[in-house]
Symmetry: C2
Subunit: 281 residues, 2 copies
């Protein structure tokens, strides 16, 4: 698996770099970004936090807007930010260019329905292909945690819960907690997975958590003035699911904050320190 | 002078807000953004750092990418980010849409040449109209400092040097130090100010600084791997000018850093703390 560097910039003594590569899982060329803290070297590999972004985002939104690098450099953790869907001319998209289906809206699942099933395999990309690529090409250890925002918070929770042996900890900002039960999720899942709701439950954090006690620590932050809170995000259902299974999850409701990167940058330090305590233990 | 709020988001306990207003100086509608730290109130007005952005930027680039709010909140300083040129359908632009002339490239001067002289008065906007507006509508003190990047570094230096009674301190990232002597400056100044180079010197930091001892402290950061360093920025000429007039200026050359916001976010904390020591004294 080869990768090609497309940009690099020094930041807080480390390096932000972007790469392109041919994805076997997604059947298209993909971009990702990595932040390597100053400590990272062949002699001193560092753990990795995978960041999954939300609807409409690429590898760039978190890296440009989250203000995460000062603390990542202090803690000596790398951050990897993939794109949010397969990309390119041959990749299916919503006919009307909707922001919540198709390009930029991969929902971190493996689609089973045409035309989506040809490329939309973000679940396997995040779980298998991308970490293998990162561990092949960069000075990192196998220690991994996973975090994300909104659709990416859904991705971080579902992937972390389903692959708990692979990660040390999970966190999310404003996650879509119960996609089988909200408009964004129902629209995407019906296209990607078909009409059998039983098939949807494998990608639903509330369903996963309520039936299985989580073995990883989980931190969730949610802004109380988030315009998507009641219709799309529903953190109270995640809390109930964690309680039902006796899982270790902390939900922090943050008064006055919305759904934007201004909210993420206000609390990203807490998430990095939360993950670092497990990654560097 | 009235202003209209167009967005607001809580960040690090304070508020990022965007506004539109009709500018009398620029003869068009303008946007600006303000960060108000949590301490700001009518009973406790706070000082202001004005941030001037570079070519192609709007009020948004710094606010989204600089990662400045955590420290601004700690220090209790407001930040105001104006746009970089007049805007709107009636505003002259380069015929070929060049990034370094016209919209997004106001160069913080008062144009004297048609068609630019109808709207391009960013100097008077930054020096007079905008601070009056800010002090009318927000819980701020008259204490001000000024900073900026690239074209905005040129703006911060020239405006600060020419209005030293109005500011407490000046800083810049990667400033265009000697526009009369580099391609970006020569192109813009010839269009905005005509062909008499004597008229250009009033907007040239090197010219201003070499003939007059600066009464304000000045901090400049410059990345050593900045692709514009030698042809456009020329910090060594600013150092020589400061030395010639016995002015107090610190230039820090930063190995490995480029011209991007990744560079700015790496050192913005130093600039905020530099200004705060004079603003809160």
């Amino acid at each position: 698996m080869t990768i090609e560097n497309s940009s690099q910039a020094k930041v807080f003594g480390g390096w932000h770099k972007q790469y392109t590569h041919q994805s076997n899982v997604l059947n298209c060329a993909m971009k990702f970004a990595v932040y390597l803290p100053p400590q990272a070297s062949k002699e001193n590999p560092v753990p990795v936090i995978y960041w999954l972004s939300g609807l409409t985002c690429s590898d760039e939104n978190f890296m440009q807007k989250a203000g995460a690098f000062k603390v990542a450099a202090e803690l000596g953790v790398a951050i990897v930010a993939p794109d949010t869907s397969p990309r390119g001319e041959g990749v299916a998209d919503d006919a009307e260019g909707a922001y919540d289906l198709g390009l930029g809206a991969g929902f971190y699942l493996n689609a089973t329905q045409a035309p989506w099933d040809k490329h939309y395999h973000m679940y396997s990309y995040i779980v298998d292909e991308l970490p293998a690529l990162i561990e092949q090409h960069f000075p990192v250890t196998p220690a991994k945690s996973i975090s994300g925002h909104s659709m990416g918070g859904h991705g971080a929770l579902t992937i972390g819960l389903k692959n708990s042996e692979q990660y040390r900890s999970i966190s999310a900002f404003s996650p879509i907690t119960n996609p089988i039960n909200c408009p964004w999720g129902q629209k995407a899942f019906s296209h990607y997975l078909g009409n059998n709701i039983e098939d949807w439950k494998a990608y639903d954090s509330v369903e996963l958590l309520k039936h299985n006690k989580a073995t990883l620590p989980i931190l969730v932050d949610q802004g109380e003035d988030d315009g998507f809170l009641q219709e799309q995000l529903k953190p109270e259902l995640l809390v109930a699911a964690a309680k039902a299974s006796g899982s270790d999850m902390t939900l922090r409701m943050q008064p006055g904050y919305d759904h934007s990167y201004f909210f993420i940058q206000s609390f990203i330090e807490d998430h990095l320190r939360f993950h670092a305590q497990f990654l560097t233990a």
